[in-house]
Amino acid sequence: MEVVVLILKIYIVLVVLIMSGYTLRHMRFTLSRVRGEQRIFYQDILDDDLPTLAVLIPMHNEEKVARHVLERLLKVEYPQDRLEIIPINDHSDDKTEEILNEYAEKYPSRVLPLHRKEGKRGKPAALNDGMAKATGEVVLVFDADYLPPRGILRDMAVSFKDPEVGAVMGRVVPENANHNFLTRLLDLERTGGYQIDQQARHNMKLVPQYGGTVGGFRRQLAIDMGGFDPNILTEDTELTYKLFLNGYKVVYANRAECYEEVPEEWPVRARQVQRWAHGHTQVMYRYFLPLLRSRLLSRWEKVDGLLLLTIYMVPIVLLLGILDSLALFFLGEMNIIDSILVFVYVAAYNSYGNFAPFYQIASGAFLDGAVERILLVPFLIFNFFFNLWYVANGFVAGTLDLVFKRGSSWAKTPRFRDREASV
């Protein structure tokens, strides 16, 4: 029994240390973004010789949104002889194919659809086929619900002039933020995630994450690194780590902003979060040790890379920590350290740890000049518990994949845009 109690106590201390690590990380990011020196991005570079681009848009049953993204891409400012738009119809059984063919007929030299009717369905497999068809030096990826502004391709493509840049990530902004309570909360989450978190990592030369949409990478490099694994549900996270392990960087372009549609229903959001956690967990198991062993990353890149890699493990660590503390309480063994220290820690954690992401979100909204929506921050506690559960589910699924060596299937996020694109 004593051994069990000892293990439970050690685990509690471990949880405290892990949470403290994340607390400090969030605080440091916020300070870097709000008070620190900002690294300039490449978008101010004017260059006539931009790289040739292939814009890939994976689509599975996207009849509601397909026209919007294609219309926007046909209006972008980029040399037409250096741009190919490749919408990938991935096993759609709605009118997506029809719509793509219509655009291909109308713009034969610009829209080059790829119809996938065989092989594994899912974004990684679709991107592999898209890369094989493309000829551009750089691939930019947009999900079908995105609405790219006129100057975004140039702003992102120019970053590849730097030979060290392997991938670029732009900023995602929800266009249906005002639809309901959920979309308003997701809008806040995005603000914290991009305006603060990604920009801070870019400032501090850490590990900004390639997010799989509103972003791009060097096509040949991705092919040389083996393309995308169709069994990994977060091919974007995998690419991020592959690039860093091969001596390349991911950079973040805060000004390359693009509208997206966020889920408008809680069950859809649950599936999305669960898929992210599932895929991220798969990547974690695959890249944890290579990242630790790599000699191409700096010490701080490794620390940030590991914290990012294990971030979807935190909810389950926390859940187990809560159960552990209950067990210790009923065993009368909570006297781990001096009670005042525990009190101080809990108070500090609740002020700056648990709510540090919220602090980050509020700071992001402030920088965006969207001050009134900061008032919604207390409601993010709903999201916290909601995510806690579904992320834990995703983590378990990813772990089971590893244990039973099973494959995983892609779950598409449904679209809600029955209306015309509002922006």
């Binding site: 140039r154 002039k161 965006d368």
Partner: protein, 511 residues
């Protein structure tokens, strides 16, 4: 649906808090002290007080000696118990108030949900596209759209606010030393006297000839522009023609045109944009290099520092003999030295430091986890990457014209004199180019860049720190736009030619 549930939850929570509050308040009427005052004896009072004492309070054993007495001491004891009970009620009150306070942050949140003030998507300018002449084009468009006519005289025009605009048809001199505090709209050419001061924008449909020591806020001109010596511009100058800037001028945040810009000596700037930017007489007309224009080598500086700290030592190393011919990769876990005149047809990787002696040729990629030292006359056809610094001596060749490659150092990067880099360079800290180097790609640094005499860089130069150019520098190629961008400042020591944009958030200085 969700809003309704939320409303029900919050009303329920508030109702519970309120009920708790009312209960704790009602628990005081009558107060325990008042109730106890109705009891007859101190012992009765003590027993009553004892019963009222909540379980959470530490039980007290009443001493036998006290139970036996009915005096003042007993009275005091029973009073203390009554006070404990009262305090307990206050604690309850505080607890319920605390619960109530927990809901306070939610009150403004509810307001934002039910009466949203800020629920629109963040604004993205969907039509935004980069235009280096944005300022002058926007002003031209705005003022021409706002003017009712172009007849000479004063008009009130609505721009960002109501502004006075004076329209003149003039080829004569303007300005008499006094400040002009309204916008000037010139239908024709403009020339100004010395020391004229214009506190508002000027639009000129012809040419603009600005006299010596003028002070301008902003100038947009449809023809060519000449800025006289010592002119100070606080915002911008824009023209579709040519801009000539005399010596000792201070340019504002942007000076942009579609033709060439000529910049005199001792000029300060933030951003210059033109088809071709000539500094002084231009790079082709620079005088020959002086010996003192060779920068102090980064490698030498590092060696000096090491010597001073007593850190020079010879590590264990693998030596590839001179004149080796090898058609395989080399992979070493220690420091590696490749002897002179060797030819390796494969990749070279080492976990230590890599030294290439004179005239080594490597037909593959090179990667080292420590410094890479490349001596005179070496050729590398592949990509070069070091987790630390790279120091390259003279006459080095990277890549080939038809197969450009890049060289990336996480630390310092130094390229020796008269090297040819077919590709791009990137340094994690300082980047130094010695004289007369050709770089067909761009150069990038996370800190500062130093470019010595006569370097020719075909693409962009980008630094998170400062850039220092010596004389006879060329950046870009005729007929294409390239950029020089430094966050913290750009210093141009003398003649140079730049194609496109030269821009900094810090101070730009032409010496």
């Amino acid at each position: 649906m969700l809003k309704r549930r939320l409303r029900v939850c919050l009303i329920a929570a508030l109702a519970i808090s309120l009920a708790g509050l009312l209960w704790s308040v009602s628990a005081q009427t009558p107060t325990p002290a008042e109730e106890m005052a109705t009891l007859e004896t101190p012992v009765e009072r003590m027993v009553e007080g004892w019963e009222r004492m909540p379980a959470a309070i530490e039980p007290v054993t009443v001493p036998e000696t006290i139970l036996a007495r009915e005096d003042d001491e007993l009275m005091e004891f029973s009073r203390s118990i009554v006070i404990s009970a009262e305090r307990h009620n206050w604690l309850l009150l505080i607890q319920f108030l605390a619960v109530l306070v927990l809901f306070l942050p939610v009150v403004p949140s509810l307001r934002e949900i039910y009466r949203p003030k800020d629920d629109k998507p963040l604004n993205i300018n969907m039509e935004y596209a980069k235009d280096p002449r944005y300022f002058d084009k926007a002003f031209r468009h705005m003022i021409k759209g706002a003017m009712s006519n172009e007849d000479p005289g004063m008009q009130m025009v609505s721009l960002s606010k109501q502004d006075r605009v004076e329209v003149i048809k003039s080829t004569g001199n303007q300005g008499n030393g006094e400040a002009l505090d309204h916008i000037l709209f010139v239908t024709g050419d403009l020339s100004t006297e010395a020391s004229a001061r214009f506190d508002k924008e000027i639009y000129v449909s012809g040419r603009a000839q600005i006299g010596k020591l003028n002070s301008l806020r902003a100038l947009v001109c449809d023809g060519d522009v000449d800025l006289g010596e010592g002119t100070v511009v606080t915002r911008w100058v824009g023209s579709p023609g040519t801009i000539r800037v005399s010596d000792n001028c201070v340019l504002g945040v942007r000076t942009a045109c579609d033709e060439d810009i000529f910049i005199g000596r001792n000029t300060f700037f933030r951003s210059l944009y033109g088809k071709q930017i000539h500094i002084g007489e231009g790079a082709d007309n620079a005088l020959v290099m002086n010996e003192n224009e060779r920068p102090e080598s980064l490698y030498q500086k590092k060696q000096k520092k090491k010597r001073k700290n007593g850190q020079l030592w010879m590590p264990r190393r693998v030596l590839v003999p001179s004149k080796t011919r090898r058609k395989k990769d080399i992979d070493s876990k220690r420091d590696l030295v490749i002897g002179e005149d060797s030819h390796i047809e494969g990749n070279v990787r080492t976990r230590g430091k890599l030294t290439l002696n004179e005239n080594v040729i490597i037909e593959g990629d090179v990667m080292a986890e420590k410094d890479i030292i490349i001596k005179r006359g070496c050729v590398i056809r592949g990509r070069v990457l070091s987790k630390m610094s790279i120091y390259v001596a003279e006459d080095f060749v990277l890549g080939a014209q038809e197969a450009p490659r890049s060289m990336i150092a996480k630390g310092e990067l130094e390229i020796g004199e008269e090297s040819r880099i077919y590709g791009s360079l990137k340094a994690g800290t300082e980047l130094q180019l010695h004289p007369k180097i050709l770089v067909t790609g761009g150069i990038f640094s996370e800190e500062n860049i130093e470019v010595a005499y006569g370097c020719d860089i075909n693409e962009n130069v980008f630094a998170q720190g400062k850039i220092a150019f010596s004389r006879a520098i060329k950046v870009g190629r005729p007929g294409s736009v390239k950029s020089v961008i430094a966050k913290k400042g750009i210093n141009i020591a003398g003649e140079g030619t730049f194609y496109g944009l030269v821009s900094t958030d810090g101070d730009g200085v032409v010496a």
